[in-house]
């Protein structure tokens, strides 16, 4: 199978070079069959890479330990679903996964792009193929990227998968993040195609609308799943540590979020064309930068793959791609002149512009903080560390400003808003926000940032509910619909707008969750069997935990020591909570990694009780535990679910609309009617 895999990789490389030549050599590009050639070659690249991928998966499943990658990341006793996810557990496999997904997306883009934008497709194919050729070159020529390399001997068993990767989250989280990173290449390819072909009107923006949303959605899901994995697997009790690789995933998400907002101004007013192209290019470069950070070893991170020389390849590619992209942008600068002007500070365009500024500002500050240690060492010759306290200090105020703009934007009309209209729109949301802040103050909350986050959360909630209420009321007035039907039709007929509001709600729910981290309570304790410990939560509950004992047993590929504690809240029994130490072993019973820890979590709307079995004292059941109360963590995961829901609504294709009792001619004008009613 490895021979077939190698052959497939080389075939894809040659096909990629062929597509680049057809797409970019002027003599070939002008041929009438160029577009069809590029499309078919893109399909062939995708097929070749699927052959390579299936070859690797087969090697993993048949335990072909003569393949270095299989021996390094699997063992005979590894469950099947982790054999499947071992594909992207190591550097070489993840590079193949990257190029596989990109080739698949490139083929889908060729197949599904509307006829109206077909003239962009050769250049789109050329750009996607250039990126594919780069990744394949890294795999085939760097000496540390080919997953089909064979060993000179065949070990009896593999080294197994890192225990921290043996978590259901790791089956989904990396692919989601990769899908997000990789799918940015498609909007980037359309942007470059628009610049190359000088078709810089609104067409390319419309052509990539779904791709940008898809990419943003995958990134959002990937980041949230990563937070969940860190929370349940790493055992430190938090979900975001400002680790360089976490930061790298956040950077393109921020610029894509900015693009999703500013692109509306280009669609509606023909403005910010240069800015939007810059954002798409920046998002792509940041996604490659994220990959560089993970693989180069230039910045220490818990996520890093084994250090290798491929960092140089990525630096060269980043420089090349950045230079070509911005040079093209410069060359087409006169073609990208705005068709309109911003009229007023009190306009939705201005709100979007400030929202873009804050998002890009946060992206810059995260990038700045991530790279500042390198800069400091270069300038001063002194190594420094930029950790979570720095990022919190710099980014929390910017994050709060962004939350405020999330609530302000929808309240302001396009072009210009009168003072009287501003007053009408802001009264209710401001009252809700102030009400929440005052209530929390009265209840005894004194943390300034948490108060602001929750108060602004109230403001955003007020804005969103007011928008839904007014829209539904307008439908009720015009069509006499019941409230739920009016809401359903409001959302289904204005998916982009109301899906966006659901995403705004998700962001506020995230912030509610984040604010809980200001009130974390932690306690370490050593307990003999039968002994109790008490811990008070910020919500005033008293948790009592009684050590029941430590049981030891063998599972499929590990030896487990599980400590169980009986849990009471305010004297009422809640249940038993357990945390484990796992010693993973190979199929001969030999330990493969250091013992890992599985945490015990008892979660509800208000707070999580987070139990970590640190280890045993003197080899007895007397054990040491870390107990943490993490308030409002549930809200972070709820925010993730809501965000996916809003994103799906926004990008859902038009088609099904709830049946309307009114005549078709009238219903075709409904969106405008509702829009006018809401803005008025």
């Amino acid at each position: 199978m490895t021979l077939l895999g190698q052959f497939a990789l080389w075939s894809a490389l040659l096909l990629g070079i062929w597509v680049m030549a057809v797409a970019f050599l002027p003599a070939w590009r002008a041929r009438p069959d160029a577009q069809a050639t590029v499309s078919r070659s893109c399909y062939a690249i995708a097929i070749a890479l699927w052959v390579a991928a299936v070859s690797l998966w087969k090697s993993l499943f048949i335990h072909d330990f003569n393949v270095e990658y299989v021996a390094s990341y699997t063992s005979r006793n590894l469950p099947d679903y982790y054999l499947f996810s071992a594909f992207w557990a190591g550097q070489k496999g993840s590079l193949l996964f990257w190029v596989l997904v990109l080739a698949t997306f490139a083929a889908i883009a060729q197949a599904t792009t509307s006829r109206r934008y077909r003239d962009l497709l050769p250049a789109v194919g050329g750009v996607t193929s250039a990126v594919i050729v780069f990744f394949l070159s890294v795999m085939l020529f760097s000496g540390s990227g080919n997953p089909f390399e064979r060993l000179s001997f065949t070990p009896a068993d593999g080294q197994g998968l890192n225990p921290q990767l043996q978590n259901p989250g790791m089956v989904i989280h990396p692919p989601m993040l990769y899908l997000g990173y990789i799918s940015i290449t498609i909007p980037f390819a359309f942007a470059i195609a628009a610049l190359v072909t000088r078709r810089v009107d609104v067409g390319w923006v419309v052509a990539i609308r779904r791709w940008t949303l898809l990419s943003w959605l995958f990134l959002s899901v990937g980041i949230t799943l990563g937070m969940w994995w860190a929370y349940v697997e790493l055992g430190w009790g938090g979900y975001w540590a400002w680790d360089p690789v976490e930061n790298a995933s956040l950077l393109p998400w921020l610029t894509m979020t900015a693009f999703l907002h500013s692109v509306m101004i280009q669609e509606k007013r023909g403005m910010l064309k240069r800015w939007n192209l810059g954002l798409v290019v920046a998002s792509f470069l940041l996604s490659i930068f994220g990959t560089f950070i993970t693989r180069s070893g230039v910045i220490a991170s818990v996520h890093s793959f084994t250090q290798s020389n491929i960092g140089y390849f990525f630096v060269a590619f980043l420089l090349l791609a950045g230079t070509i992209s911005f040079a093209l942008l410069y060359l087409r600068w006169p073609d990208l002149a705005p068709e309109g002007q911003l009229d007023s500070l009190a306009s939705r365009e201005a709100a979007f512009l400030f929202n873009n500024l804050i998002l890009v500002g946060i992206a810059f500050s995260v990038l700045w903080g991530t790279l500042f240690p390198i800069l400091s060492e270069a300038v001063r010759g002194t190594k420094i560390t930029v950790g979570p306290p720095f990022f919190n200090q710099v980014n929390v105020p910017l994050g709060l400003a962004l939350l405020a703009l999330t609530g302000i934007g929808p309240l302001i009309a396009w072009r210009q808003t009168s003072v009287a209209n501003l007053g009408r729109q802001f009264v209710f949301p401001l009252a809700v926000g102030l009400g929440v802040a005052i209530l929390l103050l009265v209840l005894g909350m004194r943390d300034g940032y948490a108060l602001m986050a929750l108060g602004l959360g109230g403001f955003v909630a007020g804005t969103v509910s007011q928008e839904f209420f007014r829209g539904a009321r307008a439908r009720q007035r015009i069509h006499g619909e019941a409230v739920w039907l009016a809401l359903a039709r409001l959302v289904s007929r204005n998916r982009r707008r109301y899906g966006g509001y659901i995403v705004h709600t998700a962001i506020l729910v995230y912030f509610v969750g984040f604010s809980g981290m200001a009130f974390v309570v932690t306690k370490e304790t050593t307990l003999r069997v039968g002994e109790k410990v008490e811990i008070k939560s910020p919500f005033g509950h008293t948790y009592t935990l009684t050590h029941l004992g430590v049981s030891q047993y063998d599972a499929l590929n590990r030896r487990v020591s599980a400590a169980s504690l009986e849990l009471y809240r305010d004297g009422r029994r809640v249940g038993v909570i357990a945390s484990e130490k796992r010693q993973h072993v190979d199929s001969f019973g030999k330990p493969t990694f250091q013992p890992s820890t599985e945490v015990g979590i008892r979660s509800d709307l208000r707070e999580d009780l987070y139990l970590v079995y640190a280890g045993s004292v003197d080899g007895t059941e007397r054990s040491t535990f870390r107990i943490t109360i993490n308030p409002l963590v549930w809200w972070v995961w709820a925010g993730g679910v809501l965000l996916v829901l809003g994103g799906l609504i926004t990008m859902w294709p038009s088609g099904w609309v709830p049946p309307s009792p009114v005549p078709a001619r009238r219903s075709s004008r409904e969106p405008e009617a509702v829009e006018v009613a809401v803005v008025a």
């Binding site: 002007q341 201005a350 200090q393 010693q583 820890t597």
Partner: protein, 192 residues
């Protein structure tokens, strides 16, 4: 052994087992040895009162563990139970704390021993100031520039539209009520 002895022996053995099990489940402070301590991770020390001291935790959250984990000392010692560095650094912090050193003195001692890289938040002095202020300053300056440009553009537009709405002196063209309202509004905006 007859059937009676067998029955009594079985009942006795069962009762003894039950009693022993009851003893185990009810004994507070039992510390039975684990079947295989080697698979339960590194042996832990009994938690001392200062391990939970908030002042100690606060100091440790300012200092990075030097094991390469990128975590602070407190998080590392209570998360990575294979790490031998963070417990040692914790003992150093506790020792200095027990000597009566203040938080800043303890942090200074660590910086003197391990270099500036041990601080999770670099000191806001010299070149580091740039790290703290640059993002905020850039955002502020850009926002101020956008605001300034928009305000100027707005004023210029109002100035350009006002004369067009007012008839030339002496033409004798009367303003309609709507035109008068628009003029008043434009003038009010100009003055504000």
């Amino acid at each position: 052994m007859n059937r009676r002895d067998l029955l009594l022996g079985t009942i006795g053995a069962f009762a003894t087992t039950q009693a022993a099990r009851q003893d185990t489940s009810q004994a507070v402070g039992a510390a039975d040895p684990l079947r295989d301590p080697t698979v339960a991770g590194m042996r832990r020390a009994v938690v001392a009162p200062l391990d939970n001291d908030e002042a100690i935790k606060t100091i440790e959250r300012r200092l990075k563990c030097t094991c390469g984990c990128n975590l602070d000392i407190f998080t590392c010692r209570t998360t990575d139970f294979t790490c031998t560095v963070s417990p040692a650094l914790h003992r150093e912090v506790v020792a200095l704390y027990e000597d009566g050193k203040t938080a800043d003195q303890i942090v200074d001692a660590f910086v003197a021993e391990h270099g500036e890289a041990i601080l999770l938040k670099p000191r806001a002095e010299g070149f580091n100031v740039l790290g703290y202020v640059l993002p905020g300053v850039l955002v502020f300056l850009t926002a101020a520039t956008i605001g300034f440009v928009l305000l100027r553009r707005h004023r210029a537009r109002v100035l350009a539209t006002v004369p067009a709405a007012v008839p030339a002196a002496g033409t004798g063209v009367a303003l309609s009520p709507e035109e008068r309202d628009r003029l008043d509004q434009a003038l009010a905006e100009l003055e504000s």
